[in-house]
Symmetry: C2
Subunit: 339 residues, 2 copies
DNA sequence: AACGCTAATCTAAACGTTTCGATCATGTCA
DNA sequence: TGACATGATCGAAACGTTTAGATTAGCGTT
């Protein structure tokens, strides 16, 4: 900018005024300056600007795994929204690891991001501390956090799983396996609650051996399914509370020589683009990813626009059960799915 | 830092020296400073540091669509690699749009990223200019670019498609539909060349009506497939040069009342996590996503480590044909796939 | 002609670091 | 004991912006 100012024989203040439109500058100086900018190929240094202004027009986004199709879609939507608003987004994947997450959030705050969208991991103690003394707005995505009182957009997980399990119960299933991630994050906790509630509402007992915990990965779903299917009194249906784990479930069913939906019904949380085209077409709980991403972005953008003191807003969205052909009436051997 | 210095009754220079280990500071001052840092909860401002140092420890990454499973995986790998190296990554999705891409690259350069990994879009003219006068290292991912002479890691696309088409030919297919994206990016160009080469090598004619162009999206694959299948002399096999488009292909096959692989064989470029578990299990060309991501990251990290003047390095990786059960011998009606 | 008002421009300080060179003890050696 | 190297610490400039406040010029009023 100094060079531009010299070339145009004006002060840097005038150059700045012209670029930002913060003051009127006369036509002849404008022209000289614009010419100089072109000649020199000047680009404003956003870092220097950020230092002075105290704002980077950059936000941080952390998710557990970008390869989980739910997060893939949500990240995509959020990225687009901030792109439209002229913000850059720094993406971090925490790999479901608490320490990684803390490091990454610190890294983002060091870089002075203007705001944070986080799909947290692990217990919320450190996150709470970070959120408290970083004074940037934070919106919680997908996973709320005890004691961290900030904007959030989450699904009504309990209701969604309740509906799905009730659907299976109505198909006649009595022993329904349930594969979940660790319960220390709210969606897993709430989904489990939905499972229990549905069984309870139907007057069915809760068989603890049908509830298996994994670490969100395919292999965990595989192992959990293997264990359940090897028992003498195996479930007639399995619900996986997480999408990557259901791949493991399907592989286990195949490897053990059974097939879905003939021998066992399967449903899972989180829809994916292929679910319509391949067999079995998996019955899933679809989250409104577009809405979730947009709402999260809007909440943050609103804070960034200056609305700092409004009380925390919690958005609760509804899931939708996508009924396809991976679940059959219990005991049915015919092709038809009619209950 | 000023506050820390005051609290510890030292100069800011000493604080900086201690934090960065750039000079020895006596035990008692060290202790006083560390205490002050803890008391105040001081965090170094990475923006100010970047301004002074001329480096942000941040890189920019642009891809067409993060929801394309190939890019999902590669982004994930790259993100992890830079995370390990202490870099942040700014992610942009260009949506296959040239203007968007240019804007985003400019945005990234304004923010003084230390390097750029780009899976480009459109013609390379502007990209070339940007790369030339931004003096940050750039590595091209997946798509090389005429005239832009810089590090790159790409697949041997021609060979990969040659192998896939040859496989179909060996199954007895003579009329093989080919669905591709626009040819202005190198992978699409090279894959098409592989298609033509394979037909040519087998002495088969190239039927131009069997070659359809789309814009990488599911709907394009759907329309292209619909057109081909509606013709009186439809192909017995279809190869889709892009993964999202194959979903459209499968939907079109279903909607038109045919089935795969009984009536028509299908294969496509880019593997995806579900391909093993659902029917038909799609035969695909798998890219070594892990290697691609790591190599791209390594090339850039090497430049960032100071190796600026080495000549451009082009890495050519090999694809792998994952043969599953979505392709049958032409005319076969039995279950077995034995050619 | 003196005055005030407005619009255009400039000067200089500030943002929070890093780092060069200067300063100042302290101990070593002739 | 004086000269000198050594090691620790500091002062101040610099990175490239923004912006508050000062300055200047131009113009209409009285």
């Amino acid at each position: 900018m100094l060079h531009v100012a010299e070339a145009a024989r004006v002060s840097v203040a005038t150059v700045s005024a012209l670029i930002n439109g913060t003051a009127t500058v006369s036509p002849e100086l404008s022209q000289r300056i614009e010419q100089a900018i072109r000649d020199i190929g000047y680009k404003r240094n956003a870092i220097a600007r950020s230092l002075k202004m105290g704002t980077t027009r950059t936000i941080g986004l952390t998710v557990p795994h970008i390869t989980n199709p739910f997060f893939t879609d949500v990240v995509s939507v959020i990225q687009q929204a901030f792109d439209r608003a002229g913000y850059a987004v720094m993406l971090c994947c925490t790999d479901e690891d608490l320490n990684t997450q803390d490091d990454q959030i610190r890294l983002l705050l060091d870089r002075m991001v203007d705001g944070l969208i986080v799909a947290r991991v692990g217990d919320g103690a450190i996150l709470k501390r970070i959120v408290d003394d970083a004074n940037v707005p934070v919106v919680l995505l997908d996973r709320i956090c005890e004691g961290v009182d900030t904007d959030a957009v989450v699904l009504d997980n309990q209701r969604a799983v309740f509906d799905a399990i009730t659907y299976l119960i109505n198909l006649g299933h009595r022993r329904i396996g349930y594969i979940t991630g660790t319960s220390d994050i709210s969606p897993m906790h709430d989904r489990m609650a939905g499972y229990r509630e549905a069984l309870h509402a139907a007057g069915l007992p809760i068989a603890e051996e049908l509830i298996r915990f994994g670490n969100f990965h395919e292999i965990d779903g595989y192992n959990a399914t293997m264990q359940m299917l090897s028992s003498h009194d195996r479930p007639s249906a399995i619900f996986s509370a997480n999408n990557p784990m259901v791949i493991g479930t399907m592989k286990a069913i195949r490897d053990i020589g059974l097939s879905c939906p003939e021998d066992i019904s399967v449903a899972c949380f989180d829809d994916f683009p292929w679910s319509d085209v391949f067999q079995p077409q998996l019955t899933t709980v679809a989250q409104p990813v577009q809405a979730i991403g947009e709402q999260a972005a809007n909440l943050l953008l609103d804070r960034l626009a200056g609305n700092r003191d409004a009380p925390p807003r919690k958005l609760l969205l509804k899931g939708r059960l996508m009924i396809r052909n991976s679940c059959r009436p219990h005991g049915a051997t015919v092709q038809s799915v009619s209950a």
